[in-house]
Symmetry: C3
Subunit: 301 residues, 3 copies
């Protein structure tokens, strides 16, 4: 009898383990000065008050879809499979732009307008399937008179229902028939003894410059720790910086105030100043118009 009961109890526990992991992560360009983020979280907890809700960031610069794409790509791989990400950088809210959920090959779910936000994740994690959100079913009841806050009425609500297991991925809506919208961007490449790439983003808090040149390309150039690297930075094809900088493991490899090139936390080629701000010091920005060319320097350290 005892064992029968234990079995019943364990079945109960196992069932609950078989549920989704209830992790829901929000990213927006709303800022945190008003009630918009809290309204989304309230809607999600109205779906299931046992969801575990987290913030990626709400400080994406307004309307900056590229940065939304970058921040998702920077973080999602560190989260457990089945985590649901809701990203709302949505300048086209209420227009004909589609609302989608992407299931990646890593098992993450991304709920977002189809406006390029998933450009990088689609490539890094791979796509299992993309579904169009059927707003007749997946929309906060009573919200149909509201046209400007799909983040709350559609995305938070749908994300919460997925994270809570109230709906399955198949219940989101029909499969998307065309490819997702992607932002144009150039991949880094090696030609001869040079690698050319883009400054994807600034590591804003510290003024480091993050490029899309991967560890593999750095290895192709046979750049080793301690070598000097010639770094040329161009904005709209005008040279903004041209100098040799040592390649190190970490900031502490150079004296305070000295520049260093290194592999950042995503293992991409980056430039900083130990205890300083390289981007500010050299007036460097980020985005498609900012190119970088690196090569092993002929000079010795």
């Amino acid at each position: 009898m005892k064992s029968t009961l234990t079995l019943i109890f364990c079945l109960f526990i196992n069932l609950s383990i078989a549920q989704p992991n209830r992790l829901l992560v929000f990213q927006t360009d709303f800022g945190i000065k008003d009630g918009a983020v809290a309204a989304m979280k309230g809607v999600a907890l109205g779906v299931d008050d046992d969801l575990r809700i987290f913030d990626l960031t709400h400080e994406i610069p307004p309307y900056n879809i590229w940065e939304a794409a970058y921040r998702l790509n920077q973080t999602a791989s560190f989260w457990p499979a089945r985590t649901v990400f809701v990203s709302v950088v949505d300048p086209g809210v209420g227009s004909a732009r589609k609302s989608i959920v992407l299931l990646s090959k890593h098992g993450h779910l991304f709920v977002t307008p189809d406006n390029g936000t998933l450009t990088l994740i689609a490539e890094t994690e791979g796509i299992q399937a993309v579904r169009l959100i059927d707003e007749k079913i997946n929309r906060l009841p009573g919200s149909s008179a509201s046209y400007t806050f799909h983040g709350r009425d559609v995305y938070a609500y749908t994300g919460a229902r997925l994270a809570a297991g109230k709906i399955k991925f198949d219940d989101v809506g029909p499969l998307l028939e065309q490819p997702i919208v992607t932002l144009p961007y150039e991949k880094a490449s090696v030609k001869g003894k040079e690698a050319t790439g883009t400054i994807d983003v600034l590591d804003v808090q510290y003024g480091n410059v993050w490029t899309n040149i991967s560890q593999a390309l750095v290895n192709d150039l046979q750049i080793n720790y301690g070598d000097l690297v010639r770094v040329r930075i161009l904005k709209d094809n005008m040279v903004k910086f041209d100098n040799d900088i040592v390649f190190g493991r970490t900031f502490a490899d150079v004296a305070e105030g000295k520049p260093i090139t290194y592999l950042n936390s995503l293992l991409n080629f980056s430039i900083g100043i130990n205890m300083g701000d390289f981007a500010k010091t050299e007036s460097i920005g980020s985005g498609n118009m900012w190119k970088i060319i690196i090569s092993k320097s002929a000079k010795k350290k």
Copy 2:
């Protein structure tokens, strides 16, 4: 026997369901640069480490009770019944101002100084009852020498005890014998073919202007999507803006850089610029001295 046990187990589960929902939401003007918010959360988790704690915002401008009132009103209705809101914008901390808990007709609880913070919620959600916090019982043990941080010592502690079900609403203290303190504000109204209202707040992140003119009043003026609306904005009775703007569903209804009037996420009349910042462009602010008059324009689009 099995069914008896199942019954016991279900009773246990039901009991736990009968508990409060353990949702606790904080709003303050403390900012997030120091440890004040974390001290409040630590106190709350000391009451019950299974509370689910969320932030509405901590960026209410210092001492701005009106904005605290607005942000509560903007968000509370999206949260489940029994959620406990703790709002600490408290310029009169330690003075004779009272500390209260309001139970709304929607079943939300608001823990706050009685200084006007509940002006809008009282009207929108309605009041079931208001109780004075009896600080002899409902104050963090050992905190009596501290006179400047009731947010931590009284409000977080009391809110946590309510959210965790350690005390019931009746245990807060005696019923408040007088009405709660309210801030003066003017309601929007229609007279003839014009609606007059106030610019309650700016949608700060995007520079949109949010008024207190409701969808019902817009309907009274027979303004339909696609119509031109004459918008006059006055500061202290001086005209600051006077122009016709189209009324649309959402920003994408106009070209980038063009102004639009629309119903915001609270279904109030608002003004913005698609991908722009109307408040900054036109130097518009918010508050009691900022009035707005709208009417259906004689011109055609």
Copy 3:
């Protein structure tokens, strides 16, 4: 039979109570504009998706170890025993600086680089033991090529494993054989009728000045509520402020715009202006070079 089963059930419950409290608190100087904090939280939830994760602050000024030490000390005592704090202000990341976990006499755990971050906590809470993190065991699997983000790869991972009970304190690594690194700082003291101390930090949101002169020292000077206090503030031994200010319980004890001295939420001597900003008005800063001398004034209020 019923009682046997109840017993089994209760044992199960008790076991889960015997687990760690699963509270994990993060403090960094990363800011909240990018994905660094979210990457750390994802790593932690990968260890155990049932952790309860909170933020102390992520707005420690970059590289400011003193302020990290202060904010930990300001808040930790309000958190339950067994809470795990992960603090990452780490200008020496990747250098020879050690990574440690301190178990305080209050039962809190602090995971951090050994760079002075625990200067104040060590004194206030007392040290039970300090262990060196053995990175061969306690490091995110697969992260060994990353040298610049120990916050994610070592501290978040180790803190999460401690908070989740996956490892015990003893499993962190060997006991630290030397004392922890501490920042130099001067304690407040009384000499004759004067107390001398340091302006440890500004209460940034409101412009209040917080010193390290404790309630006990104020009592030694026989300063009572309502007395005038002579306040001298010096920067690098140059007098920046010298005036009498009344000692009150709370801001509301003086008229709006008037200065007041009071005991802050940590019961230390502080200076503010009711509804104003003392630090800005008088151009006062904080840090080791900012000294304060107080005494009971000869004048009457």
